[in-house]
Amino acid sequence: MHDPRDVQVPIGPQHPALKEPESFLISLHGEKITDATIKLGYNHRGIEKGCEERSYIRDLYLVERICGICSHSHSTCFVQAVEEIAGLEIPPRAKYIRTLISELERIHSHLLWLGVAGHEVGFDTLLMYTWRDREVVMDVLALISGNRVNYSMNTIGGVRRDITPKQKEEVLKATGILEERTKYYIWLAQNESTLLERLSKVGTLSRDDAERLGAVGPTARASGIAHDVRKDDPYAAYAELDFKVITANQCDVYGRTLVRLGELMESYSMVRQIMQKLPDGPISIKAPRKIPAGQAVSRYEAPRGEDFHYVRSNGTDKPDRVKVRAPTLANIQAVAKMLEGGYLADLPIVIAAIDPCFSCTDRLISLRQTDAQSKNTATWESLRLKGIEWYKSKGIDFSSLNKKLAESL
């Protein structure tokens, strides 16, 4: 099977195609990929263990930081499970606000993805344009929640901030702008031939394979599987909203692009419906510090696919077990299949097409330095000193300048 003429190319853990550390070992025959091995785990930060050692309130912020892009997804998924165990029924207004943030987050995530996809195929202009437009929704999120990324909107028993009429207006205005832009991107994706060349017939995943390998979210929907947790297992206010599950039958990266763009359009319509239907009333109810013993499974359609949390409590103010299955972990297993027989040039876009979020995927890390490693490990301080010494040997001394700078700040 293994041809000695094949070249082994390591992609990662540090590589420009990957925005986060993950490693792929690729066997290349010319430009063709013959074999791909995936190694995960570089981003393991001990969040599941950490959750067991902290109170529910503190967990909320820890869980939110599983991932930077889908922070609201994880925190909502977790808080839903906790509320289910505690038997809390949150006020309808809180449900709507949660749904609103989750849709705005989807908009921001999908626009971000489109830009990254453009970058991976060398279309940097698309990256700049989509990220420029993404700022519109980021500003709206910052206005509503007080932060651009970690919104911290959820609390056990509801949400933390209300929406004012002025914010409502801003949201609707932003939706209008973004809808126009998204229509343009859909037109572009369907008509720009260099983009089509790079996206079509690349990273194909048949419907059967997608089912067998447990793909979720847009990856699965682009292979024709019409599964969407928002529809199949409604949470928050989704049961009361009208939306379509977007699917595509291309089974390739192009299909995944169309699905995400189509979902953007659905999200705009949902945001409008939420604004129209937003009920009055309180935004949270009081929650106990100690959660009674029990267990709950919570699912949530994150922008990247189904997010799955399992929480078991034991009657104290700390959970007994928090299990997180992020969408990327479900999708990453299909990547090796998608890469098979493809070109090296397609590798970045194929990996990007599942919209991987590796910090979601891994959640625990080695907290110590083993002695075996220390020989080759350069610490931050040793590197800094080496740099200073090297420049000194060239007759350049920055130390007085550094001191001045440190004082000024």
């Binding site: 091995t37 190694k39 995960l40 785990g41 393991h44 001990g46 599941e48 263990k49 067991e52 289910e84 089912e211 067998r212 390998l213 447990g214 599964h227 969407d228 947790v229 199949d232 297992d233 267990q295 709950a296 499974v297 699912r299 189904e306 799955f308 399992y310 078991r312 007994d320 077990r321 299990k323 299955r325 972990l329 479900a330 990453i332 297993q333 891994d362 959640r363 625990l364 080695s366 907290l367 110590r368 330095q369 083993t370 075996a372 490693q373």
Partner: protein, 165 residues
């Protein structure tokens, strides 16, 4: 059909009924917690039989994930299955702490591979029949017999050097 009681039965209750009829020992261990959430408790000996039936005959043909946890005297393993992405059935079973081992389900669900490796690494439960492969999620030089998700494992315990970062 003739009995009005049966007609009112929800899909979840039908699943519960089918399981209890098929496997008498499952009586009172299948709980419908809320709509679309079913929990079942199994002894390890009966696991294979029920699991195969649920997957093959009852169309629970997608695996969400596998959760493993340390419940004091034993390890608890939970398999979260779903039907058409709607109804989640959690099958819970336990493993003794002496030489803990479970059988792999990768022949049924190839995507279980990574979840099983996670349980192997984090709880130290052997998974029989899992093909050799790279470990996940702990680093390759992580020492043996250190399993972070066990309750007696503390990050800062036993004089390990921790990095403040």
């Amino acid at each position: 059909m003739q009995n009005p009681e049966v007609r009112k039965m929800t899909e979840e209750e039908k699943i519960k009924q089918e399981l209890e009829e098929k496997f008498s020992y499952l009586k009172d261990t299948v709980v419908v917690k809320r709509s679309r959430r079913i929990f079942a408790n199994l002894s390890p000996e009966k696991f294979d039989e029920v699991f195969a039936y649920v997957v093959k005959q009852m169309r629970f043909n997608a695996l969400c994930t596998i959760t493993g946890m340390d419940s004091g005297d034993t390890f608890t393993i939970m398999y979260h299955l779903n039907r058409e992405s709607r109804i989640v059935l959690t099958i819970e079973t336990s493993v003794s702490k002496n030489n803990p081992a479970i059988k792999t389900i990768t022949p049924i669900f190839p995507n279980a591979d990574i979840y099983e490796r996670e349980i192997m690494d984090l709880l130290g439960i052997q998974v029989e029949g899992l093909p050799a492969g790279r470990r996940y999620p702990l680093p390759d030089n992580w020492p043996k017999n250190e399993h972070p998700l066990r309750k007696d494992w503390k990050a800062s315990a036993s004089g390990k050097e921790t990095q403040n970062a």
